[in-house]
Amino acid sequence: MHVTSPVRPPLVTGGKTYADVTEDICRQVEGKPTKPWKIAFTAAVLVLLYGTYCLAWTWWEGLGVWGLNKTVGWAWDITNFVWWVGIGHAGTLISAILLLFRQKWRTSINRAAEAMTIFAVLCAASFILMHMGRPWMAHWALPLPNAFGSLWVNFNSPLVWDVFAISTYFSVSLVFWYIGLIPDLATIRDRAQNKVSKFIYGALSLGWTGGAKTWARYEYVSLILAGLSTPLVLSVHTIVSMDFATSVIPGWHTTIFPPYFVAGAIFSGFAMVQNLMLITRVVYRLEDYITIEHIESMNKIITLTGSIVGIAYITEFFIAWYSGVEYEQYAFLNRMAGPYWWAYWAMMTCNVISPQLFWSRKIRRSVKWTFVLSVVVNIGMWFERFVIIVTSLHRDYIPSSWAMFTPTMYDIGDYIFSFGLFGTLFLLFSKYLPVINMAEVKAVLRSSSEKLPAKVAGTAKRDNNLNQSV
């Protein structure tokens, strides 16, 4: 049914058949946990335990254990929150926006990227709870009569918008991910040999049979969910940026923030997807599914969004000068040449210069370069949030209250907590659920595999000939 352009390389290499796809992806779900997995999982759980200790102490003792002071009232907590939410943008972008744009290469990476999204948003949410200091009051952020009296939350506040945006994003992403999982869970259910996995995957797959009627509805639901998730992804980081942009702090009070934050979020999210997928494809031997073409495509998006971010940085400077507002101008000069100059230049190097290396075809098709540069991008994006938050706050209007921020072991420990949480969840996911969407990969196999099971004269055969001529 598909007409494949002969210049387009196959999405799945190695001449896979439908049965091969099932076999390759189910292998790690059905097998016993491997030694490397056990080691990695133990490490992640240990990190999580240490982080939980730090988090428990933060809640027990109060936010005084952090390095915050009168001037710098937001530091690592919000930096980490924005960083994780940003990372959480790639999954839904890949599955929703790339679905609308009919980018078929997304089929190999969307499952893991969506899982990453969900776990990253959980990590982000944990910082929201942490920075409240009194998490048992978290329900105050919900539209309940405040303290169960007659006051309500302030719906004019971007912080309240954020509560709605993050929780909607999390739950819609979770549903989108789960609906996509059902057909694959059914595949595992139908292959299950022992009672326990038959029961668990049987329960999770909700009696999926793959009837034509069901598939038609499934595709329709996916399309609408994608259509909804697309503006949702953009709205989430827009609203996060409004937490800053609607304030009157020099350095935060800029109208460029929404698009700039969204581009930055996609930028860091794709970098994180690269890191995770590069490891996953080697460990689970999925090189035929996540090919160099996939890596290259993602690198192109990293270069594009990285360039948007770079232009945003420069625009901010121009506007600060052009506005003629002394305080705004000082905030930006202070970023570049003040005591936090190193954070600013780390951000500039990592986010603006490093992704430009991907203009070289050799570099963007190299696994090693991609891995290293993706780590660099995520370091840079962490610094971006640090620069925006701490550098804008630490020198306010009264020079006598100027201060520096020094993280304590609890600032660091709470950040480590999020890595432990993320690692543990991702490892559990990659062992017990299929990391690649089998049904969707099978659906693009005919038009994109090297060896096609062509039997009927007509479209399939022509596709086959086209592919063989590559």
Binding site: M1, T17, Y18, A19, P143, S150, L151, W152, F155, N156, S157, P158, V160, W161, F164, A165, V172, V175, I182, P183, A186, T187, R189, D190, R191, F199, G202, A203, L204, L206, G207, W208, T209, G210, G211, A212, K213, W215, A216, R217, Y218, Y220, V221, I224, L225, S229, P231, L232, S235, I239, M242, M438, A439, K442, A443, R446, P453, A454, K455, V456
Partner: protein
């Protein structure tokens, strides 16, 4: 899937393209196909089978409308009537500030409403099983034909299926 009873003929196909070409042929010969089960969506199959177009989109629109109305009602009532307050010099009811939450709740209601509808209309629920052929979630394309609803004999249908490319034809009794 509704509870199945009776005798079914199950044609197993090896290739989605063969199947897609076979469906109109088999229907032309007068065989009523109950459903085709496949490991992945085959575009055009539901049309070939004569399934009506899904109306889930209309449902989605109504859920979205509900979400939008709920969000606006909540905000206008709390901010404007239950405890009116002037914040930042704005009107107690300032619609532009309500746009983000209205949007979020519209999306939330649509997504959850639509997914719930999807699960209910497809009869999906915990611990139900694949009935006809377990390979239909792996690499085979399975055509189920309800013998009670067809006037032709089992042998005739079986021949038609085989002629149109079915690799195996099995009988399933529930």
């Amino acid at each position: 899937m509704a509870e199945l009873s009776g005798k079914y003929l199950v044609g197993v196909f090896d290739d989605d393209d063969v199947l897609l070409h076979a469906v109109p042929q088999i229907r032309k010969e007068g065989v009523k196909i109950m459903e085709v089960y496949s490991p992945f969506p085959i575009h055009g199959l539901d049309v070939a089978l004569g399934h009506p177009r899904t109306k889930i989109g209309i449902a989605a629109f109504l859920y979205g409308l509900t979400g939008c109305a709920c969000a606006l009602t909540l905000m206008i009532w709390t901010m404007g009537y239950d405890w009116p307050m002037i914040i930042g010099g704005k009107d107690p009811i300032s619609i532009p500030n309500y746009i983000p939450i209205t949007f979020e709740l519209t999306v939330l209601f649509t997504a959850f409403g639509m997914v719930t509808t999807f699960l209910i209309t497809n009869g999906l629920g915990p611990n139900r099983n694949n009935k006809f052929d377990l390979r239909s979630t792996d690499n085979k394309f399975v055509m189920a034909i309800d013998l009670n609803k067809n006037s032709m004999t089992q042998e005739d249908i079986s021949d038609i299926l085989k002629k149109n490319g079915a690799e195996e034809v099995n009988v399933k009794q529930f």
